[in-house]
């Protein structure tokens, strides 16, 4: 793998749904080890961008390169295998399964399965399961969710569900973590916790993070760089301070000059 360049490059990507251009020739880079925030008004194309990166949509034009190699047309499972994990805007947990099982599922890619042995729950399969369980326990400890290990995910309050989803994404030990509004619908205390976890993941595990977030305070506090989308176009890209002063950004947020 090429360790030098940016981790992910999006080059001139456009996505259209029928007549609607959801993304218009967007280019951006995600550098190794950074926390990149993608912001923009509602309908700016943020989630679409995340979906393109994780393979749920394929661009109409443009390219996506991961660690220097073209990955434009990969499907979600293959993207996951590359080392890109994500969370969803409306928490997509396996609601009937326990928190532990949810996070264990996140490790499936790390398991080298043998259907027969696995089905028989035999020797090596069992040992492998235990090793993965240990890895999952470290994540549970990291995110401080010991108390809810055995709780069905669907029974948890919203803030904890978001945390469990982060845990499940982390279980895949991704190089790039995509977070779609990790703090939506949280109270102040839960937001503070989540910020701490995101910074810890980035600092302690060295995971590169790209996140969509609406809370500007949070964005400015935790991100190294901010990309601003508006109506499917990138209108700014820079450090939080640069972006804060950018006239185009101010206009977009104040709803000026679109027609």
């Amino acid at each position: 793998m090429n360790d030098a360049g940016p981790l992910l490059e999006v080059e001139g990507v456009s996505v259209r749904f029928g007549a609607l251009m959801a993304l218009h020739q967007v280019s951006l880079r995600i550098e190794r080890g950074e926390i990149l925030a993608i912001i923009g008004p509602n309908g700016a194309g943020k989630t679409t961008l995340l979906n393109v990166i994780s393979g749920f949509y394929h661009p109409w034009e443009g390219r996506i390169r991961f660690a220097g190699r073209d990955r434009t047309r990969l499907k979600p499972p293959d993207v996951a295998e590359l080392g890109i994990a994500r969370t969803f805007q409306n928490v997509a947990l396996f609601k009937g399964m326990s928190v532990l099982d949810n996070i264990m599922t996140g490790r499936l890619l790390k398991m080298r399965g043998n259907v027969v042995l696995d089905a028989l729950w035999w020797g090596p399969a069992q040992r492998q399961e235990l090793a993965h369980r240990a890895a999952v326990e470290r994540i549970i400890d990291f995110l401080e969710i010991q108390a809810i290990r055995k709780t069905p995910a669907g029974k948890l309050p919203y803030g904890l569900q978001k945390r469990v989803e982060l845990a499940r994404a982390l279980a895949a030990e991704p190089q790039l973590l995509l977070l779609d509004e990790p703090m939506a619908g949280m109270n102040v205390e839960e937001k503070e916790d989540m910020c701490r976890f995101i910074l810890d993941v980035n600092g302690e595990l060295g995971t590169t993070i790209a996140l969509i977030e609406h809370d500007m305070g949070v964005v400015m506090d935790i991100s190294d760089r901010v990309v601003v989308l508006d109506y499917g176009r990138k209108i700014a890209d820079g450090t939080p301070d640069q972006v804060r002063k950018d006239q185009a950004v101010l206009d977009a947020y104040l709803g000026v000059a679109h027609d």
Partner: protein, 651 residues
């Protein structure tokens, strides 16, 4: 049993003795990464030794204080032993202290060292360092989030132990020599208690205090080396220090540290402790949890549980009052045991409990009866920091609802002129750190003023009535505890507030506030019409209702030789609700006694007069801020008089 005279006169020496005598016995467990990690006594001693050497390498000297802050973790208990081994004094602090409290104690205790759990505590200490100039080194156990910290005063526990190992190479006899220098009368711990007034006081307890008193309790309660306890209450609380450290070291039993504060109930189930302590608040939570789950169950199951709980509670109440329970309940009990009590106990993690305590404050009788009726041997314990946590415990087989038991071996109790409980015991503290004034006020000739009013009943049980400063006497000299009576009155759903009067008066009277919702509902069900609070409060039926409650309270006092002289003789129902807007009660609903005595002086005089009613005129503040005057006739009910008239013998 080994004794202080045999040279095992400090806790770290006892730890070493455990490491030699039972090296492979589990001393402490901690749930980490989902698994119970166990450490033997040999490991316990070894880690304490390494930490001690590490501290020595940082310059720890005899008499130095080390602040210990964090959740219950083996590492922190080891740090306690390590500090003591060097002749230093551990000062455990509440892990949720705010910076101001932390700064006061760290500074007042003159702590040069702090051993803390994690980043959270490190952050707080770094913040207050300017106010604590003596603080030199902060040792942290969990290195999560600590990568970016470069402050030279910080050192990780692992690093500290490495430095200790190096020191041991250079001075191999250092640790043993330091350990040997310790003696029974060294201060072993300083526990800071925040009184209701003034700054926290640092209670100094010696090794002798806790070794002798801890052992007396062990013998009385029959504790053994195979007990399992859960260490989940703050390390700064003297109780945790006694139960999870002192007694564990003394007997060799196993201490279990929960995974996190949030997992305590679950960990309790996994461990199934044999020895357990909890303040009433936690017993209450446990009960609520159980009842919520019962209410969630299917209807037949729910009915079954309620039925058998009823049986068990009736049995237990009979037993606590020394009566013989009815035969059919005794017959049903084994069935209930199999169907309900056993499974419930299991579910609570209390199947194996041999001894459990409730302490700290009075426990609600229904909560106490609930757990005892399940067959859990929960008992009341009385003690405080100044007594090494131990003064009196209810003896096995002689548990009552309203006493805190008999004095432990070595404890003497007497009651002062003013009715205050005084005690003297081997566990009595040596003084408050740097506060001779407070020490002088509390400790006199070895006797400690507990601050509680109480008495010893005929069976030798200590009974606590109230805080001493809230207790006074009637004109005839009888002890009168207004809050005690008021709480008993307020136990009725119909009584919202009550103010009892009697100091220097011939008898006790009460001003009662009815609960509008409950009494209103009661009245509607009986077809009693009323127009307003004032109207309802003066209805004869309502007076009858409240009189019934007063009689209930009076009857409950009859068992009590000291308090039965202070029964309520007359009462009246106030025509208006006590209201914070009228400054009659505080926002936290505490009665302002002085203000009420003044405002309702006319009513009070009438209560001690001959009339059966009194006219009032009162200023009230309406919701919209306007003030107005209420004029009403308030009736006075003489309980004793009516009792005689009705020919009742009970009063």
């Amino acid at each position: 049993m080994t004794t202080i005279e045999a040279g095992l006169d400090t806790f770290p020496k006892l730890v070493r003795s455990n490491a030699e005598r039972r090296p492979h016995k589990i001393a402490i467990r901690e749930k980490d990464l989902g698994i119970w990690q166990a450490y033997t006594w040999r490991q316990y001693f070894e880690r304490a030794r390494r930490i001690a050497l590490g501290l020595a390498a940082l310059g720890f000297a005899r008499g130095d204080k080390a602040a210990i802050i964090g959740d219950n973790r083996p590492e922190l208990y080891w740090a306690v032993a390590a500090t003591q081994a060097l002749g230093g004094v551990p000062v455990p602090l509440y892990q949720d202290s705010i910076e101001k409290e932390l700064a006061y104690i760290v500074d007042h205790a003159e702590a040069r060292f702090a051993v803390v759990e994690d980043q959270e505590q490190v952050d707080k200490l770094l913040h207050i360092r300017a106010q604590c100039p003596r603080l030199e080194s902060i040792v942290y156990d969990d290195s999560r989030g600590m990568r970016a910290y470069s402050d030279p005063c910080l050192i990780s526990l692992a690093e500290l132990e490495e430095r200790g190992d190096k020191l041991a190479v250079g001075q191999p006899g250092y640790f043993d020599a330091e350990l040997a220098r310790g003696s029974a009368d060294d201060v072993a711990i300083i526990c800071y208690t925040s009184g209701t007034t003034g700054s926290p006081k640092g209670t100094m307890l010696t090794h002798r205090n806790m070794i002798v008193m801890g052992r007396n309790a062990i013998e009385r309660e029959g504790l053994r080396h195979d007990e399992e306890v859960l260490a989940y209450l703050p390390m700064a609380w003297v109780g945790d220090h006694i139960f999870s450290y002192a007694q564990s070291v003394l007997t060799g039993f196993t201490v279990n540290c929960p995974e996190s504060a949030a997992t305590v109930l679950h960990d309790l189930k996994e461990i199934g402790p044999t020895y357990f302590f909890a303040p009433p608040r936690i017993w209450e939570n446990l009960l609520t949890n159980v009842m919520i789950r019962v209410e969630d169950a299917a209807r037949p199951k729910r009915a079954l549980v309620h039925f058998f709980l009823g049986v068990a509670q009736a049995l237990e109440r009979a037993r606590l009052h020394g009566r013989t329970p009815s035969a059919w309940r005794r017959l049903l009990h084994p069935l209930g045991q199999a169907l309900v009590y056993g499974p419930l106990r299991d579910n609570l993690g209390m199947r194996r409990i041999r001894v459990a305590y409730t302490a700290g404050e009075a426990i609600g009788p229904e909560i106490f009866v609930f757990f005892r009726s399940l067959g859990i041997n929960v008992k009341q314990l009385y003690g405080m920091t100044e007594s090494s946590a131990l003064v009196a415990i209810q003896p096995n087989g002689d548990v009552r609802l309203d006493t805190v038991g008999t004095p432990l071996p070595g404890v003497e109790i007497r009651i002062s002129e003013q009715g205050e409980v005084l005690y003297r015991s081997p566990g009595v503290f040596v003084g408050y750190f740097k506060n001779t004034e407070a020490t002088r006020q509390t400790l006199e000739d070895g006797w400690v003023r507990s601050g509680d009013a109480g008495f010893i009943d005929a069976a030798g049980h200590l009974k606590i009535i109230d805080r001493a400063r809230d207790v006074s006497r009637l004109a005839g000299g009888t002890i009168f505890a207004p809050k005690y009576l008021e709480n008993k009155l307020k136990f009725s759903p119909y009584v919202k507030e009550a103010v009892c009067l009697g100091q220097d008066r011939p008898f006790v009277t009460a001003l009662v506030n009815i609960d509008l919702a409950a009494v209103g509902n009661w009245a509607e069900r009986r077809g009693i019409a009323y127009t307003s609070y004032t109207d309802l409060s003066q209805r004869a039926e309502v007076y009858d209702l409240i009189e019934h409650e007063v009689r209930r309270v009076n009857a409950s006092l009859l068992d009590d030789d000291v308090l039965k002289g202070a029964r309520i003789r007359k009462f009246l129902i106030l025509h208006k609700e006590l209201d914070p807007d009228d400054e009659e009660i505080t926002r936290t609903r505490k009665v302002r006694r002085g203000f009420i005595a003044q405002k309702y002086a006319a009513l009070i005089e009438a209560l001690y007069g001959d009339g059966d009613r009194v006219q009032v005129q009162a200023q009230v503040t309406y919701e919209d801020g306007r003030t107005g005057t209420v004029r009403a006739d308030v009736k006075i009910r003489d309980v004793a008089l009516r009792a005689t008239a009705a020919g009742e013998a009970s009063l």
